[in-house]
């Protein structure tokens, strides 16, 4: 049972092992390693890219790329910087509105790809620019107002959440003790993964996403809903990007239409997807794997803080590590017996 699981998810198992090794070593080297404070800080820095990587995963599974994920994140964060304030009800509605913004944007991407018959890569390059444009109109200068309590509660531990809102005896109830030290960002991240991604994977639509990437012709003759799956994939990408934007706004308490950051998140999302073991050719992988990929990417950058590495050298080293990690996935091509298939 276990053996087959590992054999069928070799890339994922490899990514998990790499992450575990990197993270444990990092904590060993860190002067305050294995402490809750370091853990919370790390989690906070990793969540946005993890959400964007999840977003990127869904189109990649269909052999497409979504170049708008970073921009949709930025747009959502700018919307959030206006709406996450006021009464509890207002904030709740605000959160829904932020998620709806990104989701609607993803749906638009899907409609363009399915009905406009455009290549995803070029369609989303254009819509990504539109998203950034809208974000710049909303926030020409960085700014905004985010509810302080919410921001604090969501970027610290479960105990802080309970303490802030006075639930579960202010965090002292016996049943919450075992979870008290878990960082809230991770709860949000894995909560969304468990409640949205895993159920989606188990629908016919979700399975069709995999089938399209694996063999679109076979998916068609098997009578699968191909257009519905493409729409759903981009919509879901928009939703996950909105989650990232929402979190970014909570973390920074501001909205900032940062074009450079949006582009960097998009490119890093592709790297995270590949590191997690999802094939760019589609059909293999998943959003959970991409979370691991995103975590690996972040841990690598954490190392620069504790090892005395010249900041100017950081991009160079990051690139080398990435290249090394991704090369491990190229072994498959050596097994191809008909060289013409390499070009198909």
């Amino acid at each position: 049972m276990m053996g087959r699981l590992i054999a069928q998810n070799r890339a994922f198992a490899g990514a998990l092992a790499l992450f575990a090794a990197l993270f444990v070593t990092y904590n060993l080297l860190h002067p305050r390693g294995f402490s809750s404070a370091v853990f919370v800080q790390n989690a906070n820095e990793a969540v946005a890219i993890a959400f964007v990587a999840m977003a990127q995963t869904v189109p990649v599974l269909m052999r497409g790329l979504d170049l708008s994920v970073g921009a949709v994140m930025t747009l959502s964060a700018c919307v959030a910087s206006y709406l996450l304030t006021g009464s509890g009800l207002e904030i709740s509605m605000g959160i829904l509105a932020v998620l709806a913004t990104g989701t609607a944007f993803g749906l638009m991407n899907g409609l363009i790809v399915v009905h406009g018959r455009l290549q995803p890569i070029i369609a989303t390059l254009a819509t990504g620019a539109i998203a950034i444009g809208l974000a710049l109109i909303l926030r020409p200068q960085p700014g905004g107002n985010v509810d302080g309590d919410l921001s604090w509660a969501m970027t610290n531990t479960v105990w802080d959440l309970a303490d802030t809102y006075g639930i579960a005896g202010g965090g002292e109830a016996w049943w919450i003790r075992p979870f008290a030290d878990i960082p809230m960002p991770l709860v949000l991240l894995f909560g969304v993964a468990l409640l949205v991604w895993l159920p989606f994977k188990r629908t016919v639509t979700g399975r069709t996403v995999y089938a399209i990437g694996s063999a679109e012709g076979a998916a068609y003759v098997s009578g699968l809903p191909i257009n519905r799956a493409k729409l759903a994939a981009f919509t879901l990408a928009g939703f996950f990007s909105a989650c990232a934007g929402l979190y970014l706004a909570l973390q920074t308490s501001t909205g900032n239409a940062d074009t450079v950051q949006a582009g960097a998140y998009t490119l890093n999302s592709i790297a995270a997807v590949v590191l997690g073991g999802t094939a760019l050719a589609g059909g293999i992988g998943g959003a959970i794997a991409s979370i691991i990929g995103a975590l690996i990417l972040r841990v690598i950058s954490f190392y620069f803080r504790i090892l005395d590495i010249e900041p100017l050298l950081q991009p160079l080293i990051e690139g080398l590590v990435l290249l090394l990690a991704v090369s491990a996935g190229a072994w498959r091509t050596f097994a191809v017996k008909n060289r013409l298939e390499l070009f198909r």
């Binding site: 016919v204 076979a218 068609y220 059909g283 017996k337 008909n338 060289r339």
Partner: protein, 502 residues
């Protein structure tokens, strides 16, 4: 057979890009029968089942299912009506598990989500029906052998409760034991009133299984008859009987030719199982047989495209080339006119001139830089040599007709001055006039000392052109024909691997 047919076609016509695939076909199959469909390559069998199963829509004509007129817009519409097809090109998704694949479009669900346990049970039940209990439904399809995949495909088709089950070459990769399982299964389905349309190139299977047979030829339904009404020889004649479509240049008298290529026991994956042949200098050696018996792989192997080829190859003193670069630049030089000119032969958006010189850059350059004068001369020479009809050499090659595109492909390879030319069905989809020019050119090349290994899916071409013909079946040479022995009866008989009919 007095009841109304379960499926009936009237006047079905279908063309692809101006080429008729089916013309005015009337066809009917009855409930609880196994109906065999026979025909040569390109007779229209595949188009027929694609129309019945909703993959393509007919241009004209009517289809009735159980007396009711139907028109399937997609395979899922056909499946919903109980018309299920098992395709020759497998319809399985390699990156999903066996259980996922079996219930792909309509899995058992609980609260809207796929119920994996129920799906697993269902897969186990269906696999048991095809006696594949030993197959773990949690395996990925990509990890299965071709024969296992075909069994999964059959289980998947069964799971859709078919009223009409179409098996297109369903047994081509099966082991003898699995074939027996399929026989038994078809017997049971028949008793349950299911209609099976059975397409196979294996004559003995068709005879063992089918109650009725329909022969197709050139997109037309020729005849339907009950099993036993016709002899093998008569069936073969029904399948052939067509007018001669091209004239061929006269063949020289057979002579002893020094060999330039010797292959002994060539094996590769499941496609080649010990091919041996000798190609002489100045000879046109035809390769025949039904589609997919290893002909294409043989040519690809000789051109250095395949990895892990076993067997002995003597290519004028050297071994098998390790890549197309080695093949075209060594001594003797090898060229391959590929199967699909649109993807492997040409770069469609590039100009005719650019396409002509892609294989022979080393001949028109000086230390890696293209010499414009030599380029122009080479292009002019290529166009003149094959009399390519074109507007201007700088036009994109896709603006040419199919025949002239193929001439560009041939001219491009002749520019490398090859000694051995491998041709993979070079006249597919080409008008008769161009075909004749190509045959003329092939004979001229052979007379000039070049050697040609020529695969064609059209037997008439092999008969008209080749000095000798090898017939491949299941990855082996089953027959070698020479001189007057090259006849359509002999090739078709050997292709079906039955003793020579007539």
């Amino acid at each position: 057979m007095t009841d109304a047919p379960i499926i009936a076609l009237r006047g079905i016509t279908k063309s692809y890009a101006g080429i008729r695939a089916l013309e005015g076909v009337d066809f009917a199959a009855h409930r609880g029968s196994v109906h065999g469909i026979l025909g040569e390559n390109g007779a229209g069998k595949s188009t027929l089942i694609k129309i019945i199963s909703g993959v393509v829509q007919p241009d004209a004509g009517e289809m009735r299912l159980d007396g009711q007129p139907v028109r399937f817009a997609s395979p899922s519409a056909a499946t919903a009506e109980g018309v299920v097809c098992m395709f020759q090109e497998l319809s399985l998704i390699p990156d999903l598990s066996v259980a996922d694949n079996i219930s792909i479009a309509a899995p058992p669900r609980r609260m809207g989500l796929i119920d994996r346990k129920a799906q697993l049970r269902r897969a186990e039940e269906l696999l048991a029906r095809v006696r594949c209990e030993d197959l773990d439904p949690r395996m990925m399809v990509r990890d299965l052998s071709l024969s296992r995949r075909q069994m999964v495909e059959i289980a998947k088709a069964l799971g859709r409760d078919p009223r009409v089950l179409i098996l297109d070459e369903a047994t081509s990769a099966l082991t003898a034991e699995d074939v027996q399982t399929v026989y038994d299964l078809l017997g049971r389905l028949k008793a349950e009133g299911v209609t099976v349309l059975f397409i196979s190139h294996r004559m003995n299977e068709v005879e063992a299984l089918c109650d009725r047979l329909s022969v197709f030829r050139n997109g037309r339904h020729i005849e339907t008859f009950a099993k036993g009404e016709r002899t093998d020889a008569e069936i073969v004649r029904l399948m052939i009987g067509r007018e001669v479509t091209a004239k061929y240049p006269p063949k020289p008298a057979p002579t002893a030719r020094p060999p330039v290529l010797k292959v002994e026991g060539m094996e590769w994956e499941d496609a080649l199982k010990g091919v041996s042949l000798t190609l002489g200098k100045g000879e046109i050696l035809g390769v025949g047989g039904l589609d997919g018996q290893g002909q294409k792989e043989l040519l690809l192997a000789l051109f250095g495209v395949l990895k892990g080829v076993r067997g002995r190859v003597d290519l004028g003193g050297r071994r098998l080339p390790s890549s197309p670069i080695a093949a075209k630049s060594g001594e003797p030089r090898v060229a391959l006119i590929p199967e699909d000119r649109k993807t492997e032969g040409l770069m469609l958006p590039l100009s005719i001139a650019d396409n002509l010189v892609t294989a022979a850059f080393d001949r028109i350059g000086r230390s890696g830089v293209i010499d414009p004068a030599r380029l122009e001369a080479a292009v002019k020479d290529g166009i003149a040599r094959l009399q390519i009809k074109l507007g201007h050499p700088s036009d994109p090659v896709r603006t040419l007709s199919g025949g002239n595109q193929q001439k560009v492909v041939i001219a491009k390879w002749l520019m490398t001055d090859p000694d051995i030319i491998l041709m993979n069905d070079p006249t597919r989809g080409i008008d008769v006039g161009t075909k004749q020019e190509i045959f003329r050119m092939m004979r001229d090349l052979a007379d000039g000392g070049k050697s040609i290994l020529f695969y064609s899916s059209d037997y008439a071409e092999l008969i008209g052109c080749a000095d000798r013909v090898l017939v491949l079946y299941d990855g082996r040479v089953v027959r070698e024909l020479e001189g007057d022995a090259i006849s359509e009866e002999a090739i078709v008989g050997a292709s079906l691997n039955i003793g020579t009919a007539a």
